[in-house]
């Protein structure tokens, strides 16, 4: 399916040349990550069927910024809840049970609900935004369907000059299979 050019640039960046290695064990994957980092590589991608702390630790990635999205969304939601209840009551004043027009206690319910709703929605947007941003940075790279089942994978972007070195490093670390793309 053909996409308009700006969308195509965003979602289908040109393929990145490099090496893809498949691993059947967690420890060999972690060893390969450490070797790559020791060799000065930083822009490689690790695939795993599940998140593992060993991989996170070996990669030394900064904490995901998604939590900030959640916080901002939650605070914004609370403010929206306060605003719609107070402003709408002022705009259409209805006396109920002798309570003040703008009574805070019943409005807390709405403010709470809006906090949760906006917090959740902005968390999702945060995940999508950050993942898309990360994917754009790396471009289109090799993938193997076994990485959602029981294999770990590492893709190292490398031009024709560095590809042999990367391949040797991955094999030495215990890769089960290595291919170029």
């Amino acid at each position: 399916m053909a996409l308009p050019k700006p969308l195509n640039d965003l979602f289908r960046p040109p393929p990145t040349p490099g090496v893809l290695a498949a691993f059947s064990h967690l420890d060999t994957t972690v060893a390969a990550i450490k070797k790559l980092r020791a060799a000065g590589q930083t822009d490689f991608t690790v695939y795993s069927p599940i998140p593992r702390h060993e991989i996170e630790d070996a990669l030394g990635q900064p904490v995901s910024p998604v939590r900030a999205f959640t916080l901002v969304g939650g605070i914004a939601g609370c403010a929206v809840g306060a605003w719609i209840t107070l402003w709408m009551s002022a705009d259409w004043p209805v006396q109920v049970g002798g309570k003040p027009i703008g009574s805070i206690p019943p409005y807390v319910v709405i403010m709470f609900e809006m906090t949760i709703l906006f917090g959740a929605l902005s968390t999702i947007l945060g995940i999508l935004f950050n993942v898309l941003f990360g994917a754009r940075r790396t471009g289109t790279i090799l993938y193997d369907p076994r990485f959602t089942n029981d294999r770990f994978g590492i893709f190292v972007p490398a031009g024709s000059d560095k590809v042999a070195k990367a391949e040797a490093l991955l094999r030495e670390a215990g890769a089960e299979e290595v291919r170029r793309g």
Partner: protein, 421 residues
């Protein structure tokens, strides 16, 4: 190529086993599945026909009579909301307590939450009578400049159910994405296309997991939790038992999982039983004659059968779960779970209908309330609606979390690891 290291995990339950066993549940449905689905759709049809009658002839068809103007519809509403809450509990609280056994059952619980909220949300709409004006609850700008009354609990319901439904659907979908990707990588034909679209490009890269893992550790999960855990645990057992047998998941959803659910049932059932005892004790001990009369009416008035069904099913039946033999017998658990559902439905019936009918301040207006066919028809429809969605879900998406079940397995290593996993 370097020499292939030997696998060191002797167990049959490997990552590959998990993926394939769970993916197999999506295969061609058996006759048993179609029978269950047919029964659900038939129940839903009863509900729809009843609803059409209610639309044509009005709420008078339901058994409302002064002073009982909230009855089966609101009972059903509270029942389904209660079911939903416990789904949230299983997925959120057990996560916060780092209970590894939750991974095998939480997907069922979350799907149950979404479909139970979808079911619950129908009841206030049916109860308002003029369903076509339901959008008056939404604060939208209109030509007369009217806004809803935010002091009304009906508006709170609208916001609460709306938020609860949205957020629990997002929970379910986000958790599903890595699993749909796993299924996508095995599927062929139209299913491959469906899963490719719905997994929105998931590959399990470190960039994706980095942002994703924050999700299921999110802190706002506990906000959602309230009571009604007991009935939900019962419903989870009711739903899991046939799924496990139909789909052959005995090795992933083990007796241990059922036993843990049964223990939760025992704990929460005991709390419920204690609360009943407390209510009666306080009614007597307070010396307040109206309170005493109200509770006497509950236990020995015209609705004694509802009250005793509730007390026996919720207060006494769970005590059987102290016995390990019963706790680990899945057939016995299934039967008990059905009685838990019945008991908890009657608890809401007792609170809503019997409290209104037996209100001592309106003694001169003797209640003659009895549910009619319209009440039962709508209730049957709600069960059909719920089970229909649930059955369609488990056949089209992984009913057990593939990636999270793998998380509690020992990862494949080329040499034995140093203790901690």
């Amino acid at each position: 190529m370097a020499e292939t290291p030997q696998p060191t995990t002797p167990t049959r339950v490997t990552y590959d086993y998990v993926t394939r066993t769970i993916a197999r549940t999506l295969g061609t449905p058996s006759r048993g599945y179609f029978l269950l689905l047919g029964a659900a759709v038939a129940l839903l049809a009863i509900g729809i026909i009843t609803l059409l009658y209610l639309l044509r002839y009005g709420l008078g068809l339901a058994g409302y009579s002064h002073p009982v103007y909230w009855a089966v519809f609101i009972t059903c509403f509270v029942f389904w909301v209660g079911i939903a809450h416990s789904g949230t509990l299983i997925s959120a609280i057990l996560f916060l307590f780092r209970s590894g056994w939750r991974t095998a059952v939480y997907r069922t619980a979350e799907a149950m939450t979404v479909f139970a909220v979808m079911t619950a949300g129908l009841f206030p709409l049916i109860h308002i009578g003029r369903q076509w004006y339901f959008y008056w609850l939404i604060p939208y700008p209109n030509e007369r400049g009217l806004w809803p009354n935010f002091k009304s609990p009906l508006i709170w319901d609208e916001f609460a159910i709306g938020t609860y439904f949205t957020v629990s659907t997002l929970f379910l979908i986000m958790g599903l994405i890595p699993d749909i990707a796993a299924v996508r990588d095995l599927a062929t034909g139209w299913r491959k296309k469906l899963y490719a679209l719905t997994s929105i490009g998931w590959t399990g890269s470190n960039e994706q997991w980095r942002n994703f893992t924050g999700w299921h550790a999110t802190i706002f999960a506990p906000y959602f939790v309230a009571g009604a855990i007991y009935s939900g645990c019962g419903m989870v057992i009711t739903l899991l038992t046939p799924i496990r047998t139909l789909f052959g998941l005995e090795e992933l959803i083990t007796v241990k999982h059922f036993e843990n659910l049964a223990k939760l049932c025992l704990l929460t059932g005991s709390i419920v039983g204690y609360a009943y005892a407390c209510e009666y004790f306080i009614a007597w001990y307070s010396g307040n004659p109206t309170e005493r009369a109200a509770f006497w009416y509950r236990a020995f008035g015209p609705y004694w059968w509802a009250t005793w069904t509730m007390i026996i099913c919720n207060g006494f039946l769970p005590l059987l779960l102290w016995v390990k033999k019963i706790r680990t017998n899945i057939t016995a658990l299934f039967v008990i779970s059905i009685f838990v559902n019945i008991g908890m439905w009657f608890e809401r019936y007792v609170i809503i209908v019997v409290s209104l009918a037996g209100e001592p301040f309106t003694k001169w207006t003797n209640a003659v309330y009895n549910p009619t066919w319209a009440d039962w028809g709508i209730m049957a429809g709600s069960f059909g609606w719920f089970f229909m969605w649930f059955l369609l879900f488990v056949k089209n998406f992984p009913a057990v979390s593939i990636s999270e079940v793998k998380e509690v397995l020992p990862p494949p290593r080329s040499k034995p690891s140093k203790a901690h996993a």
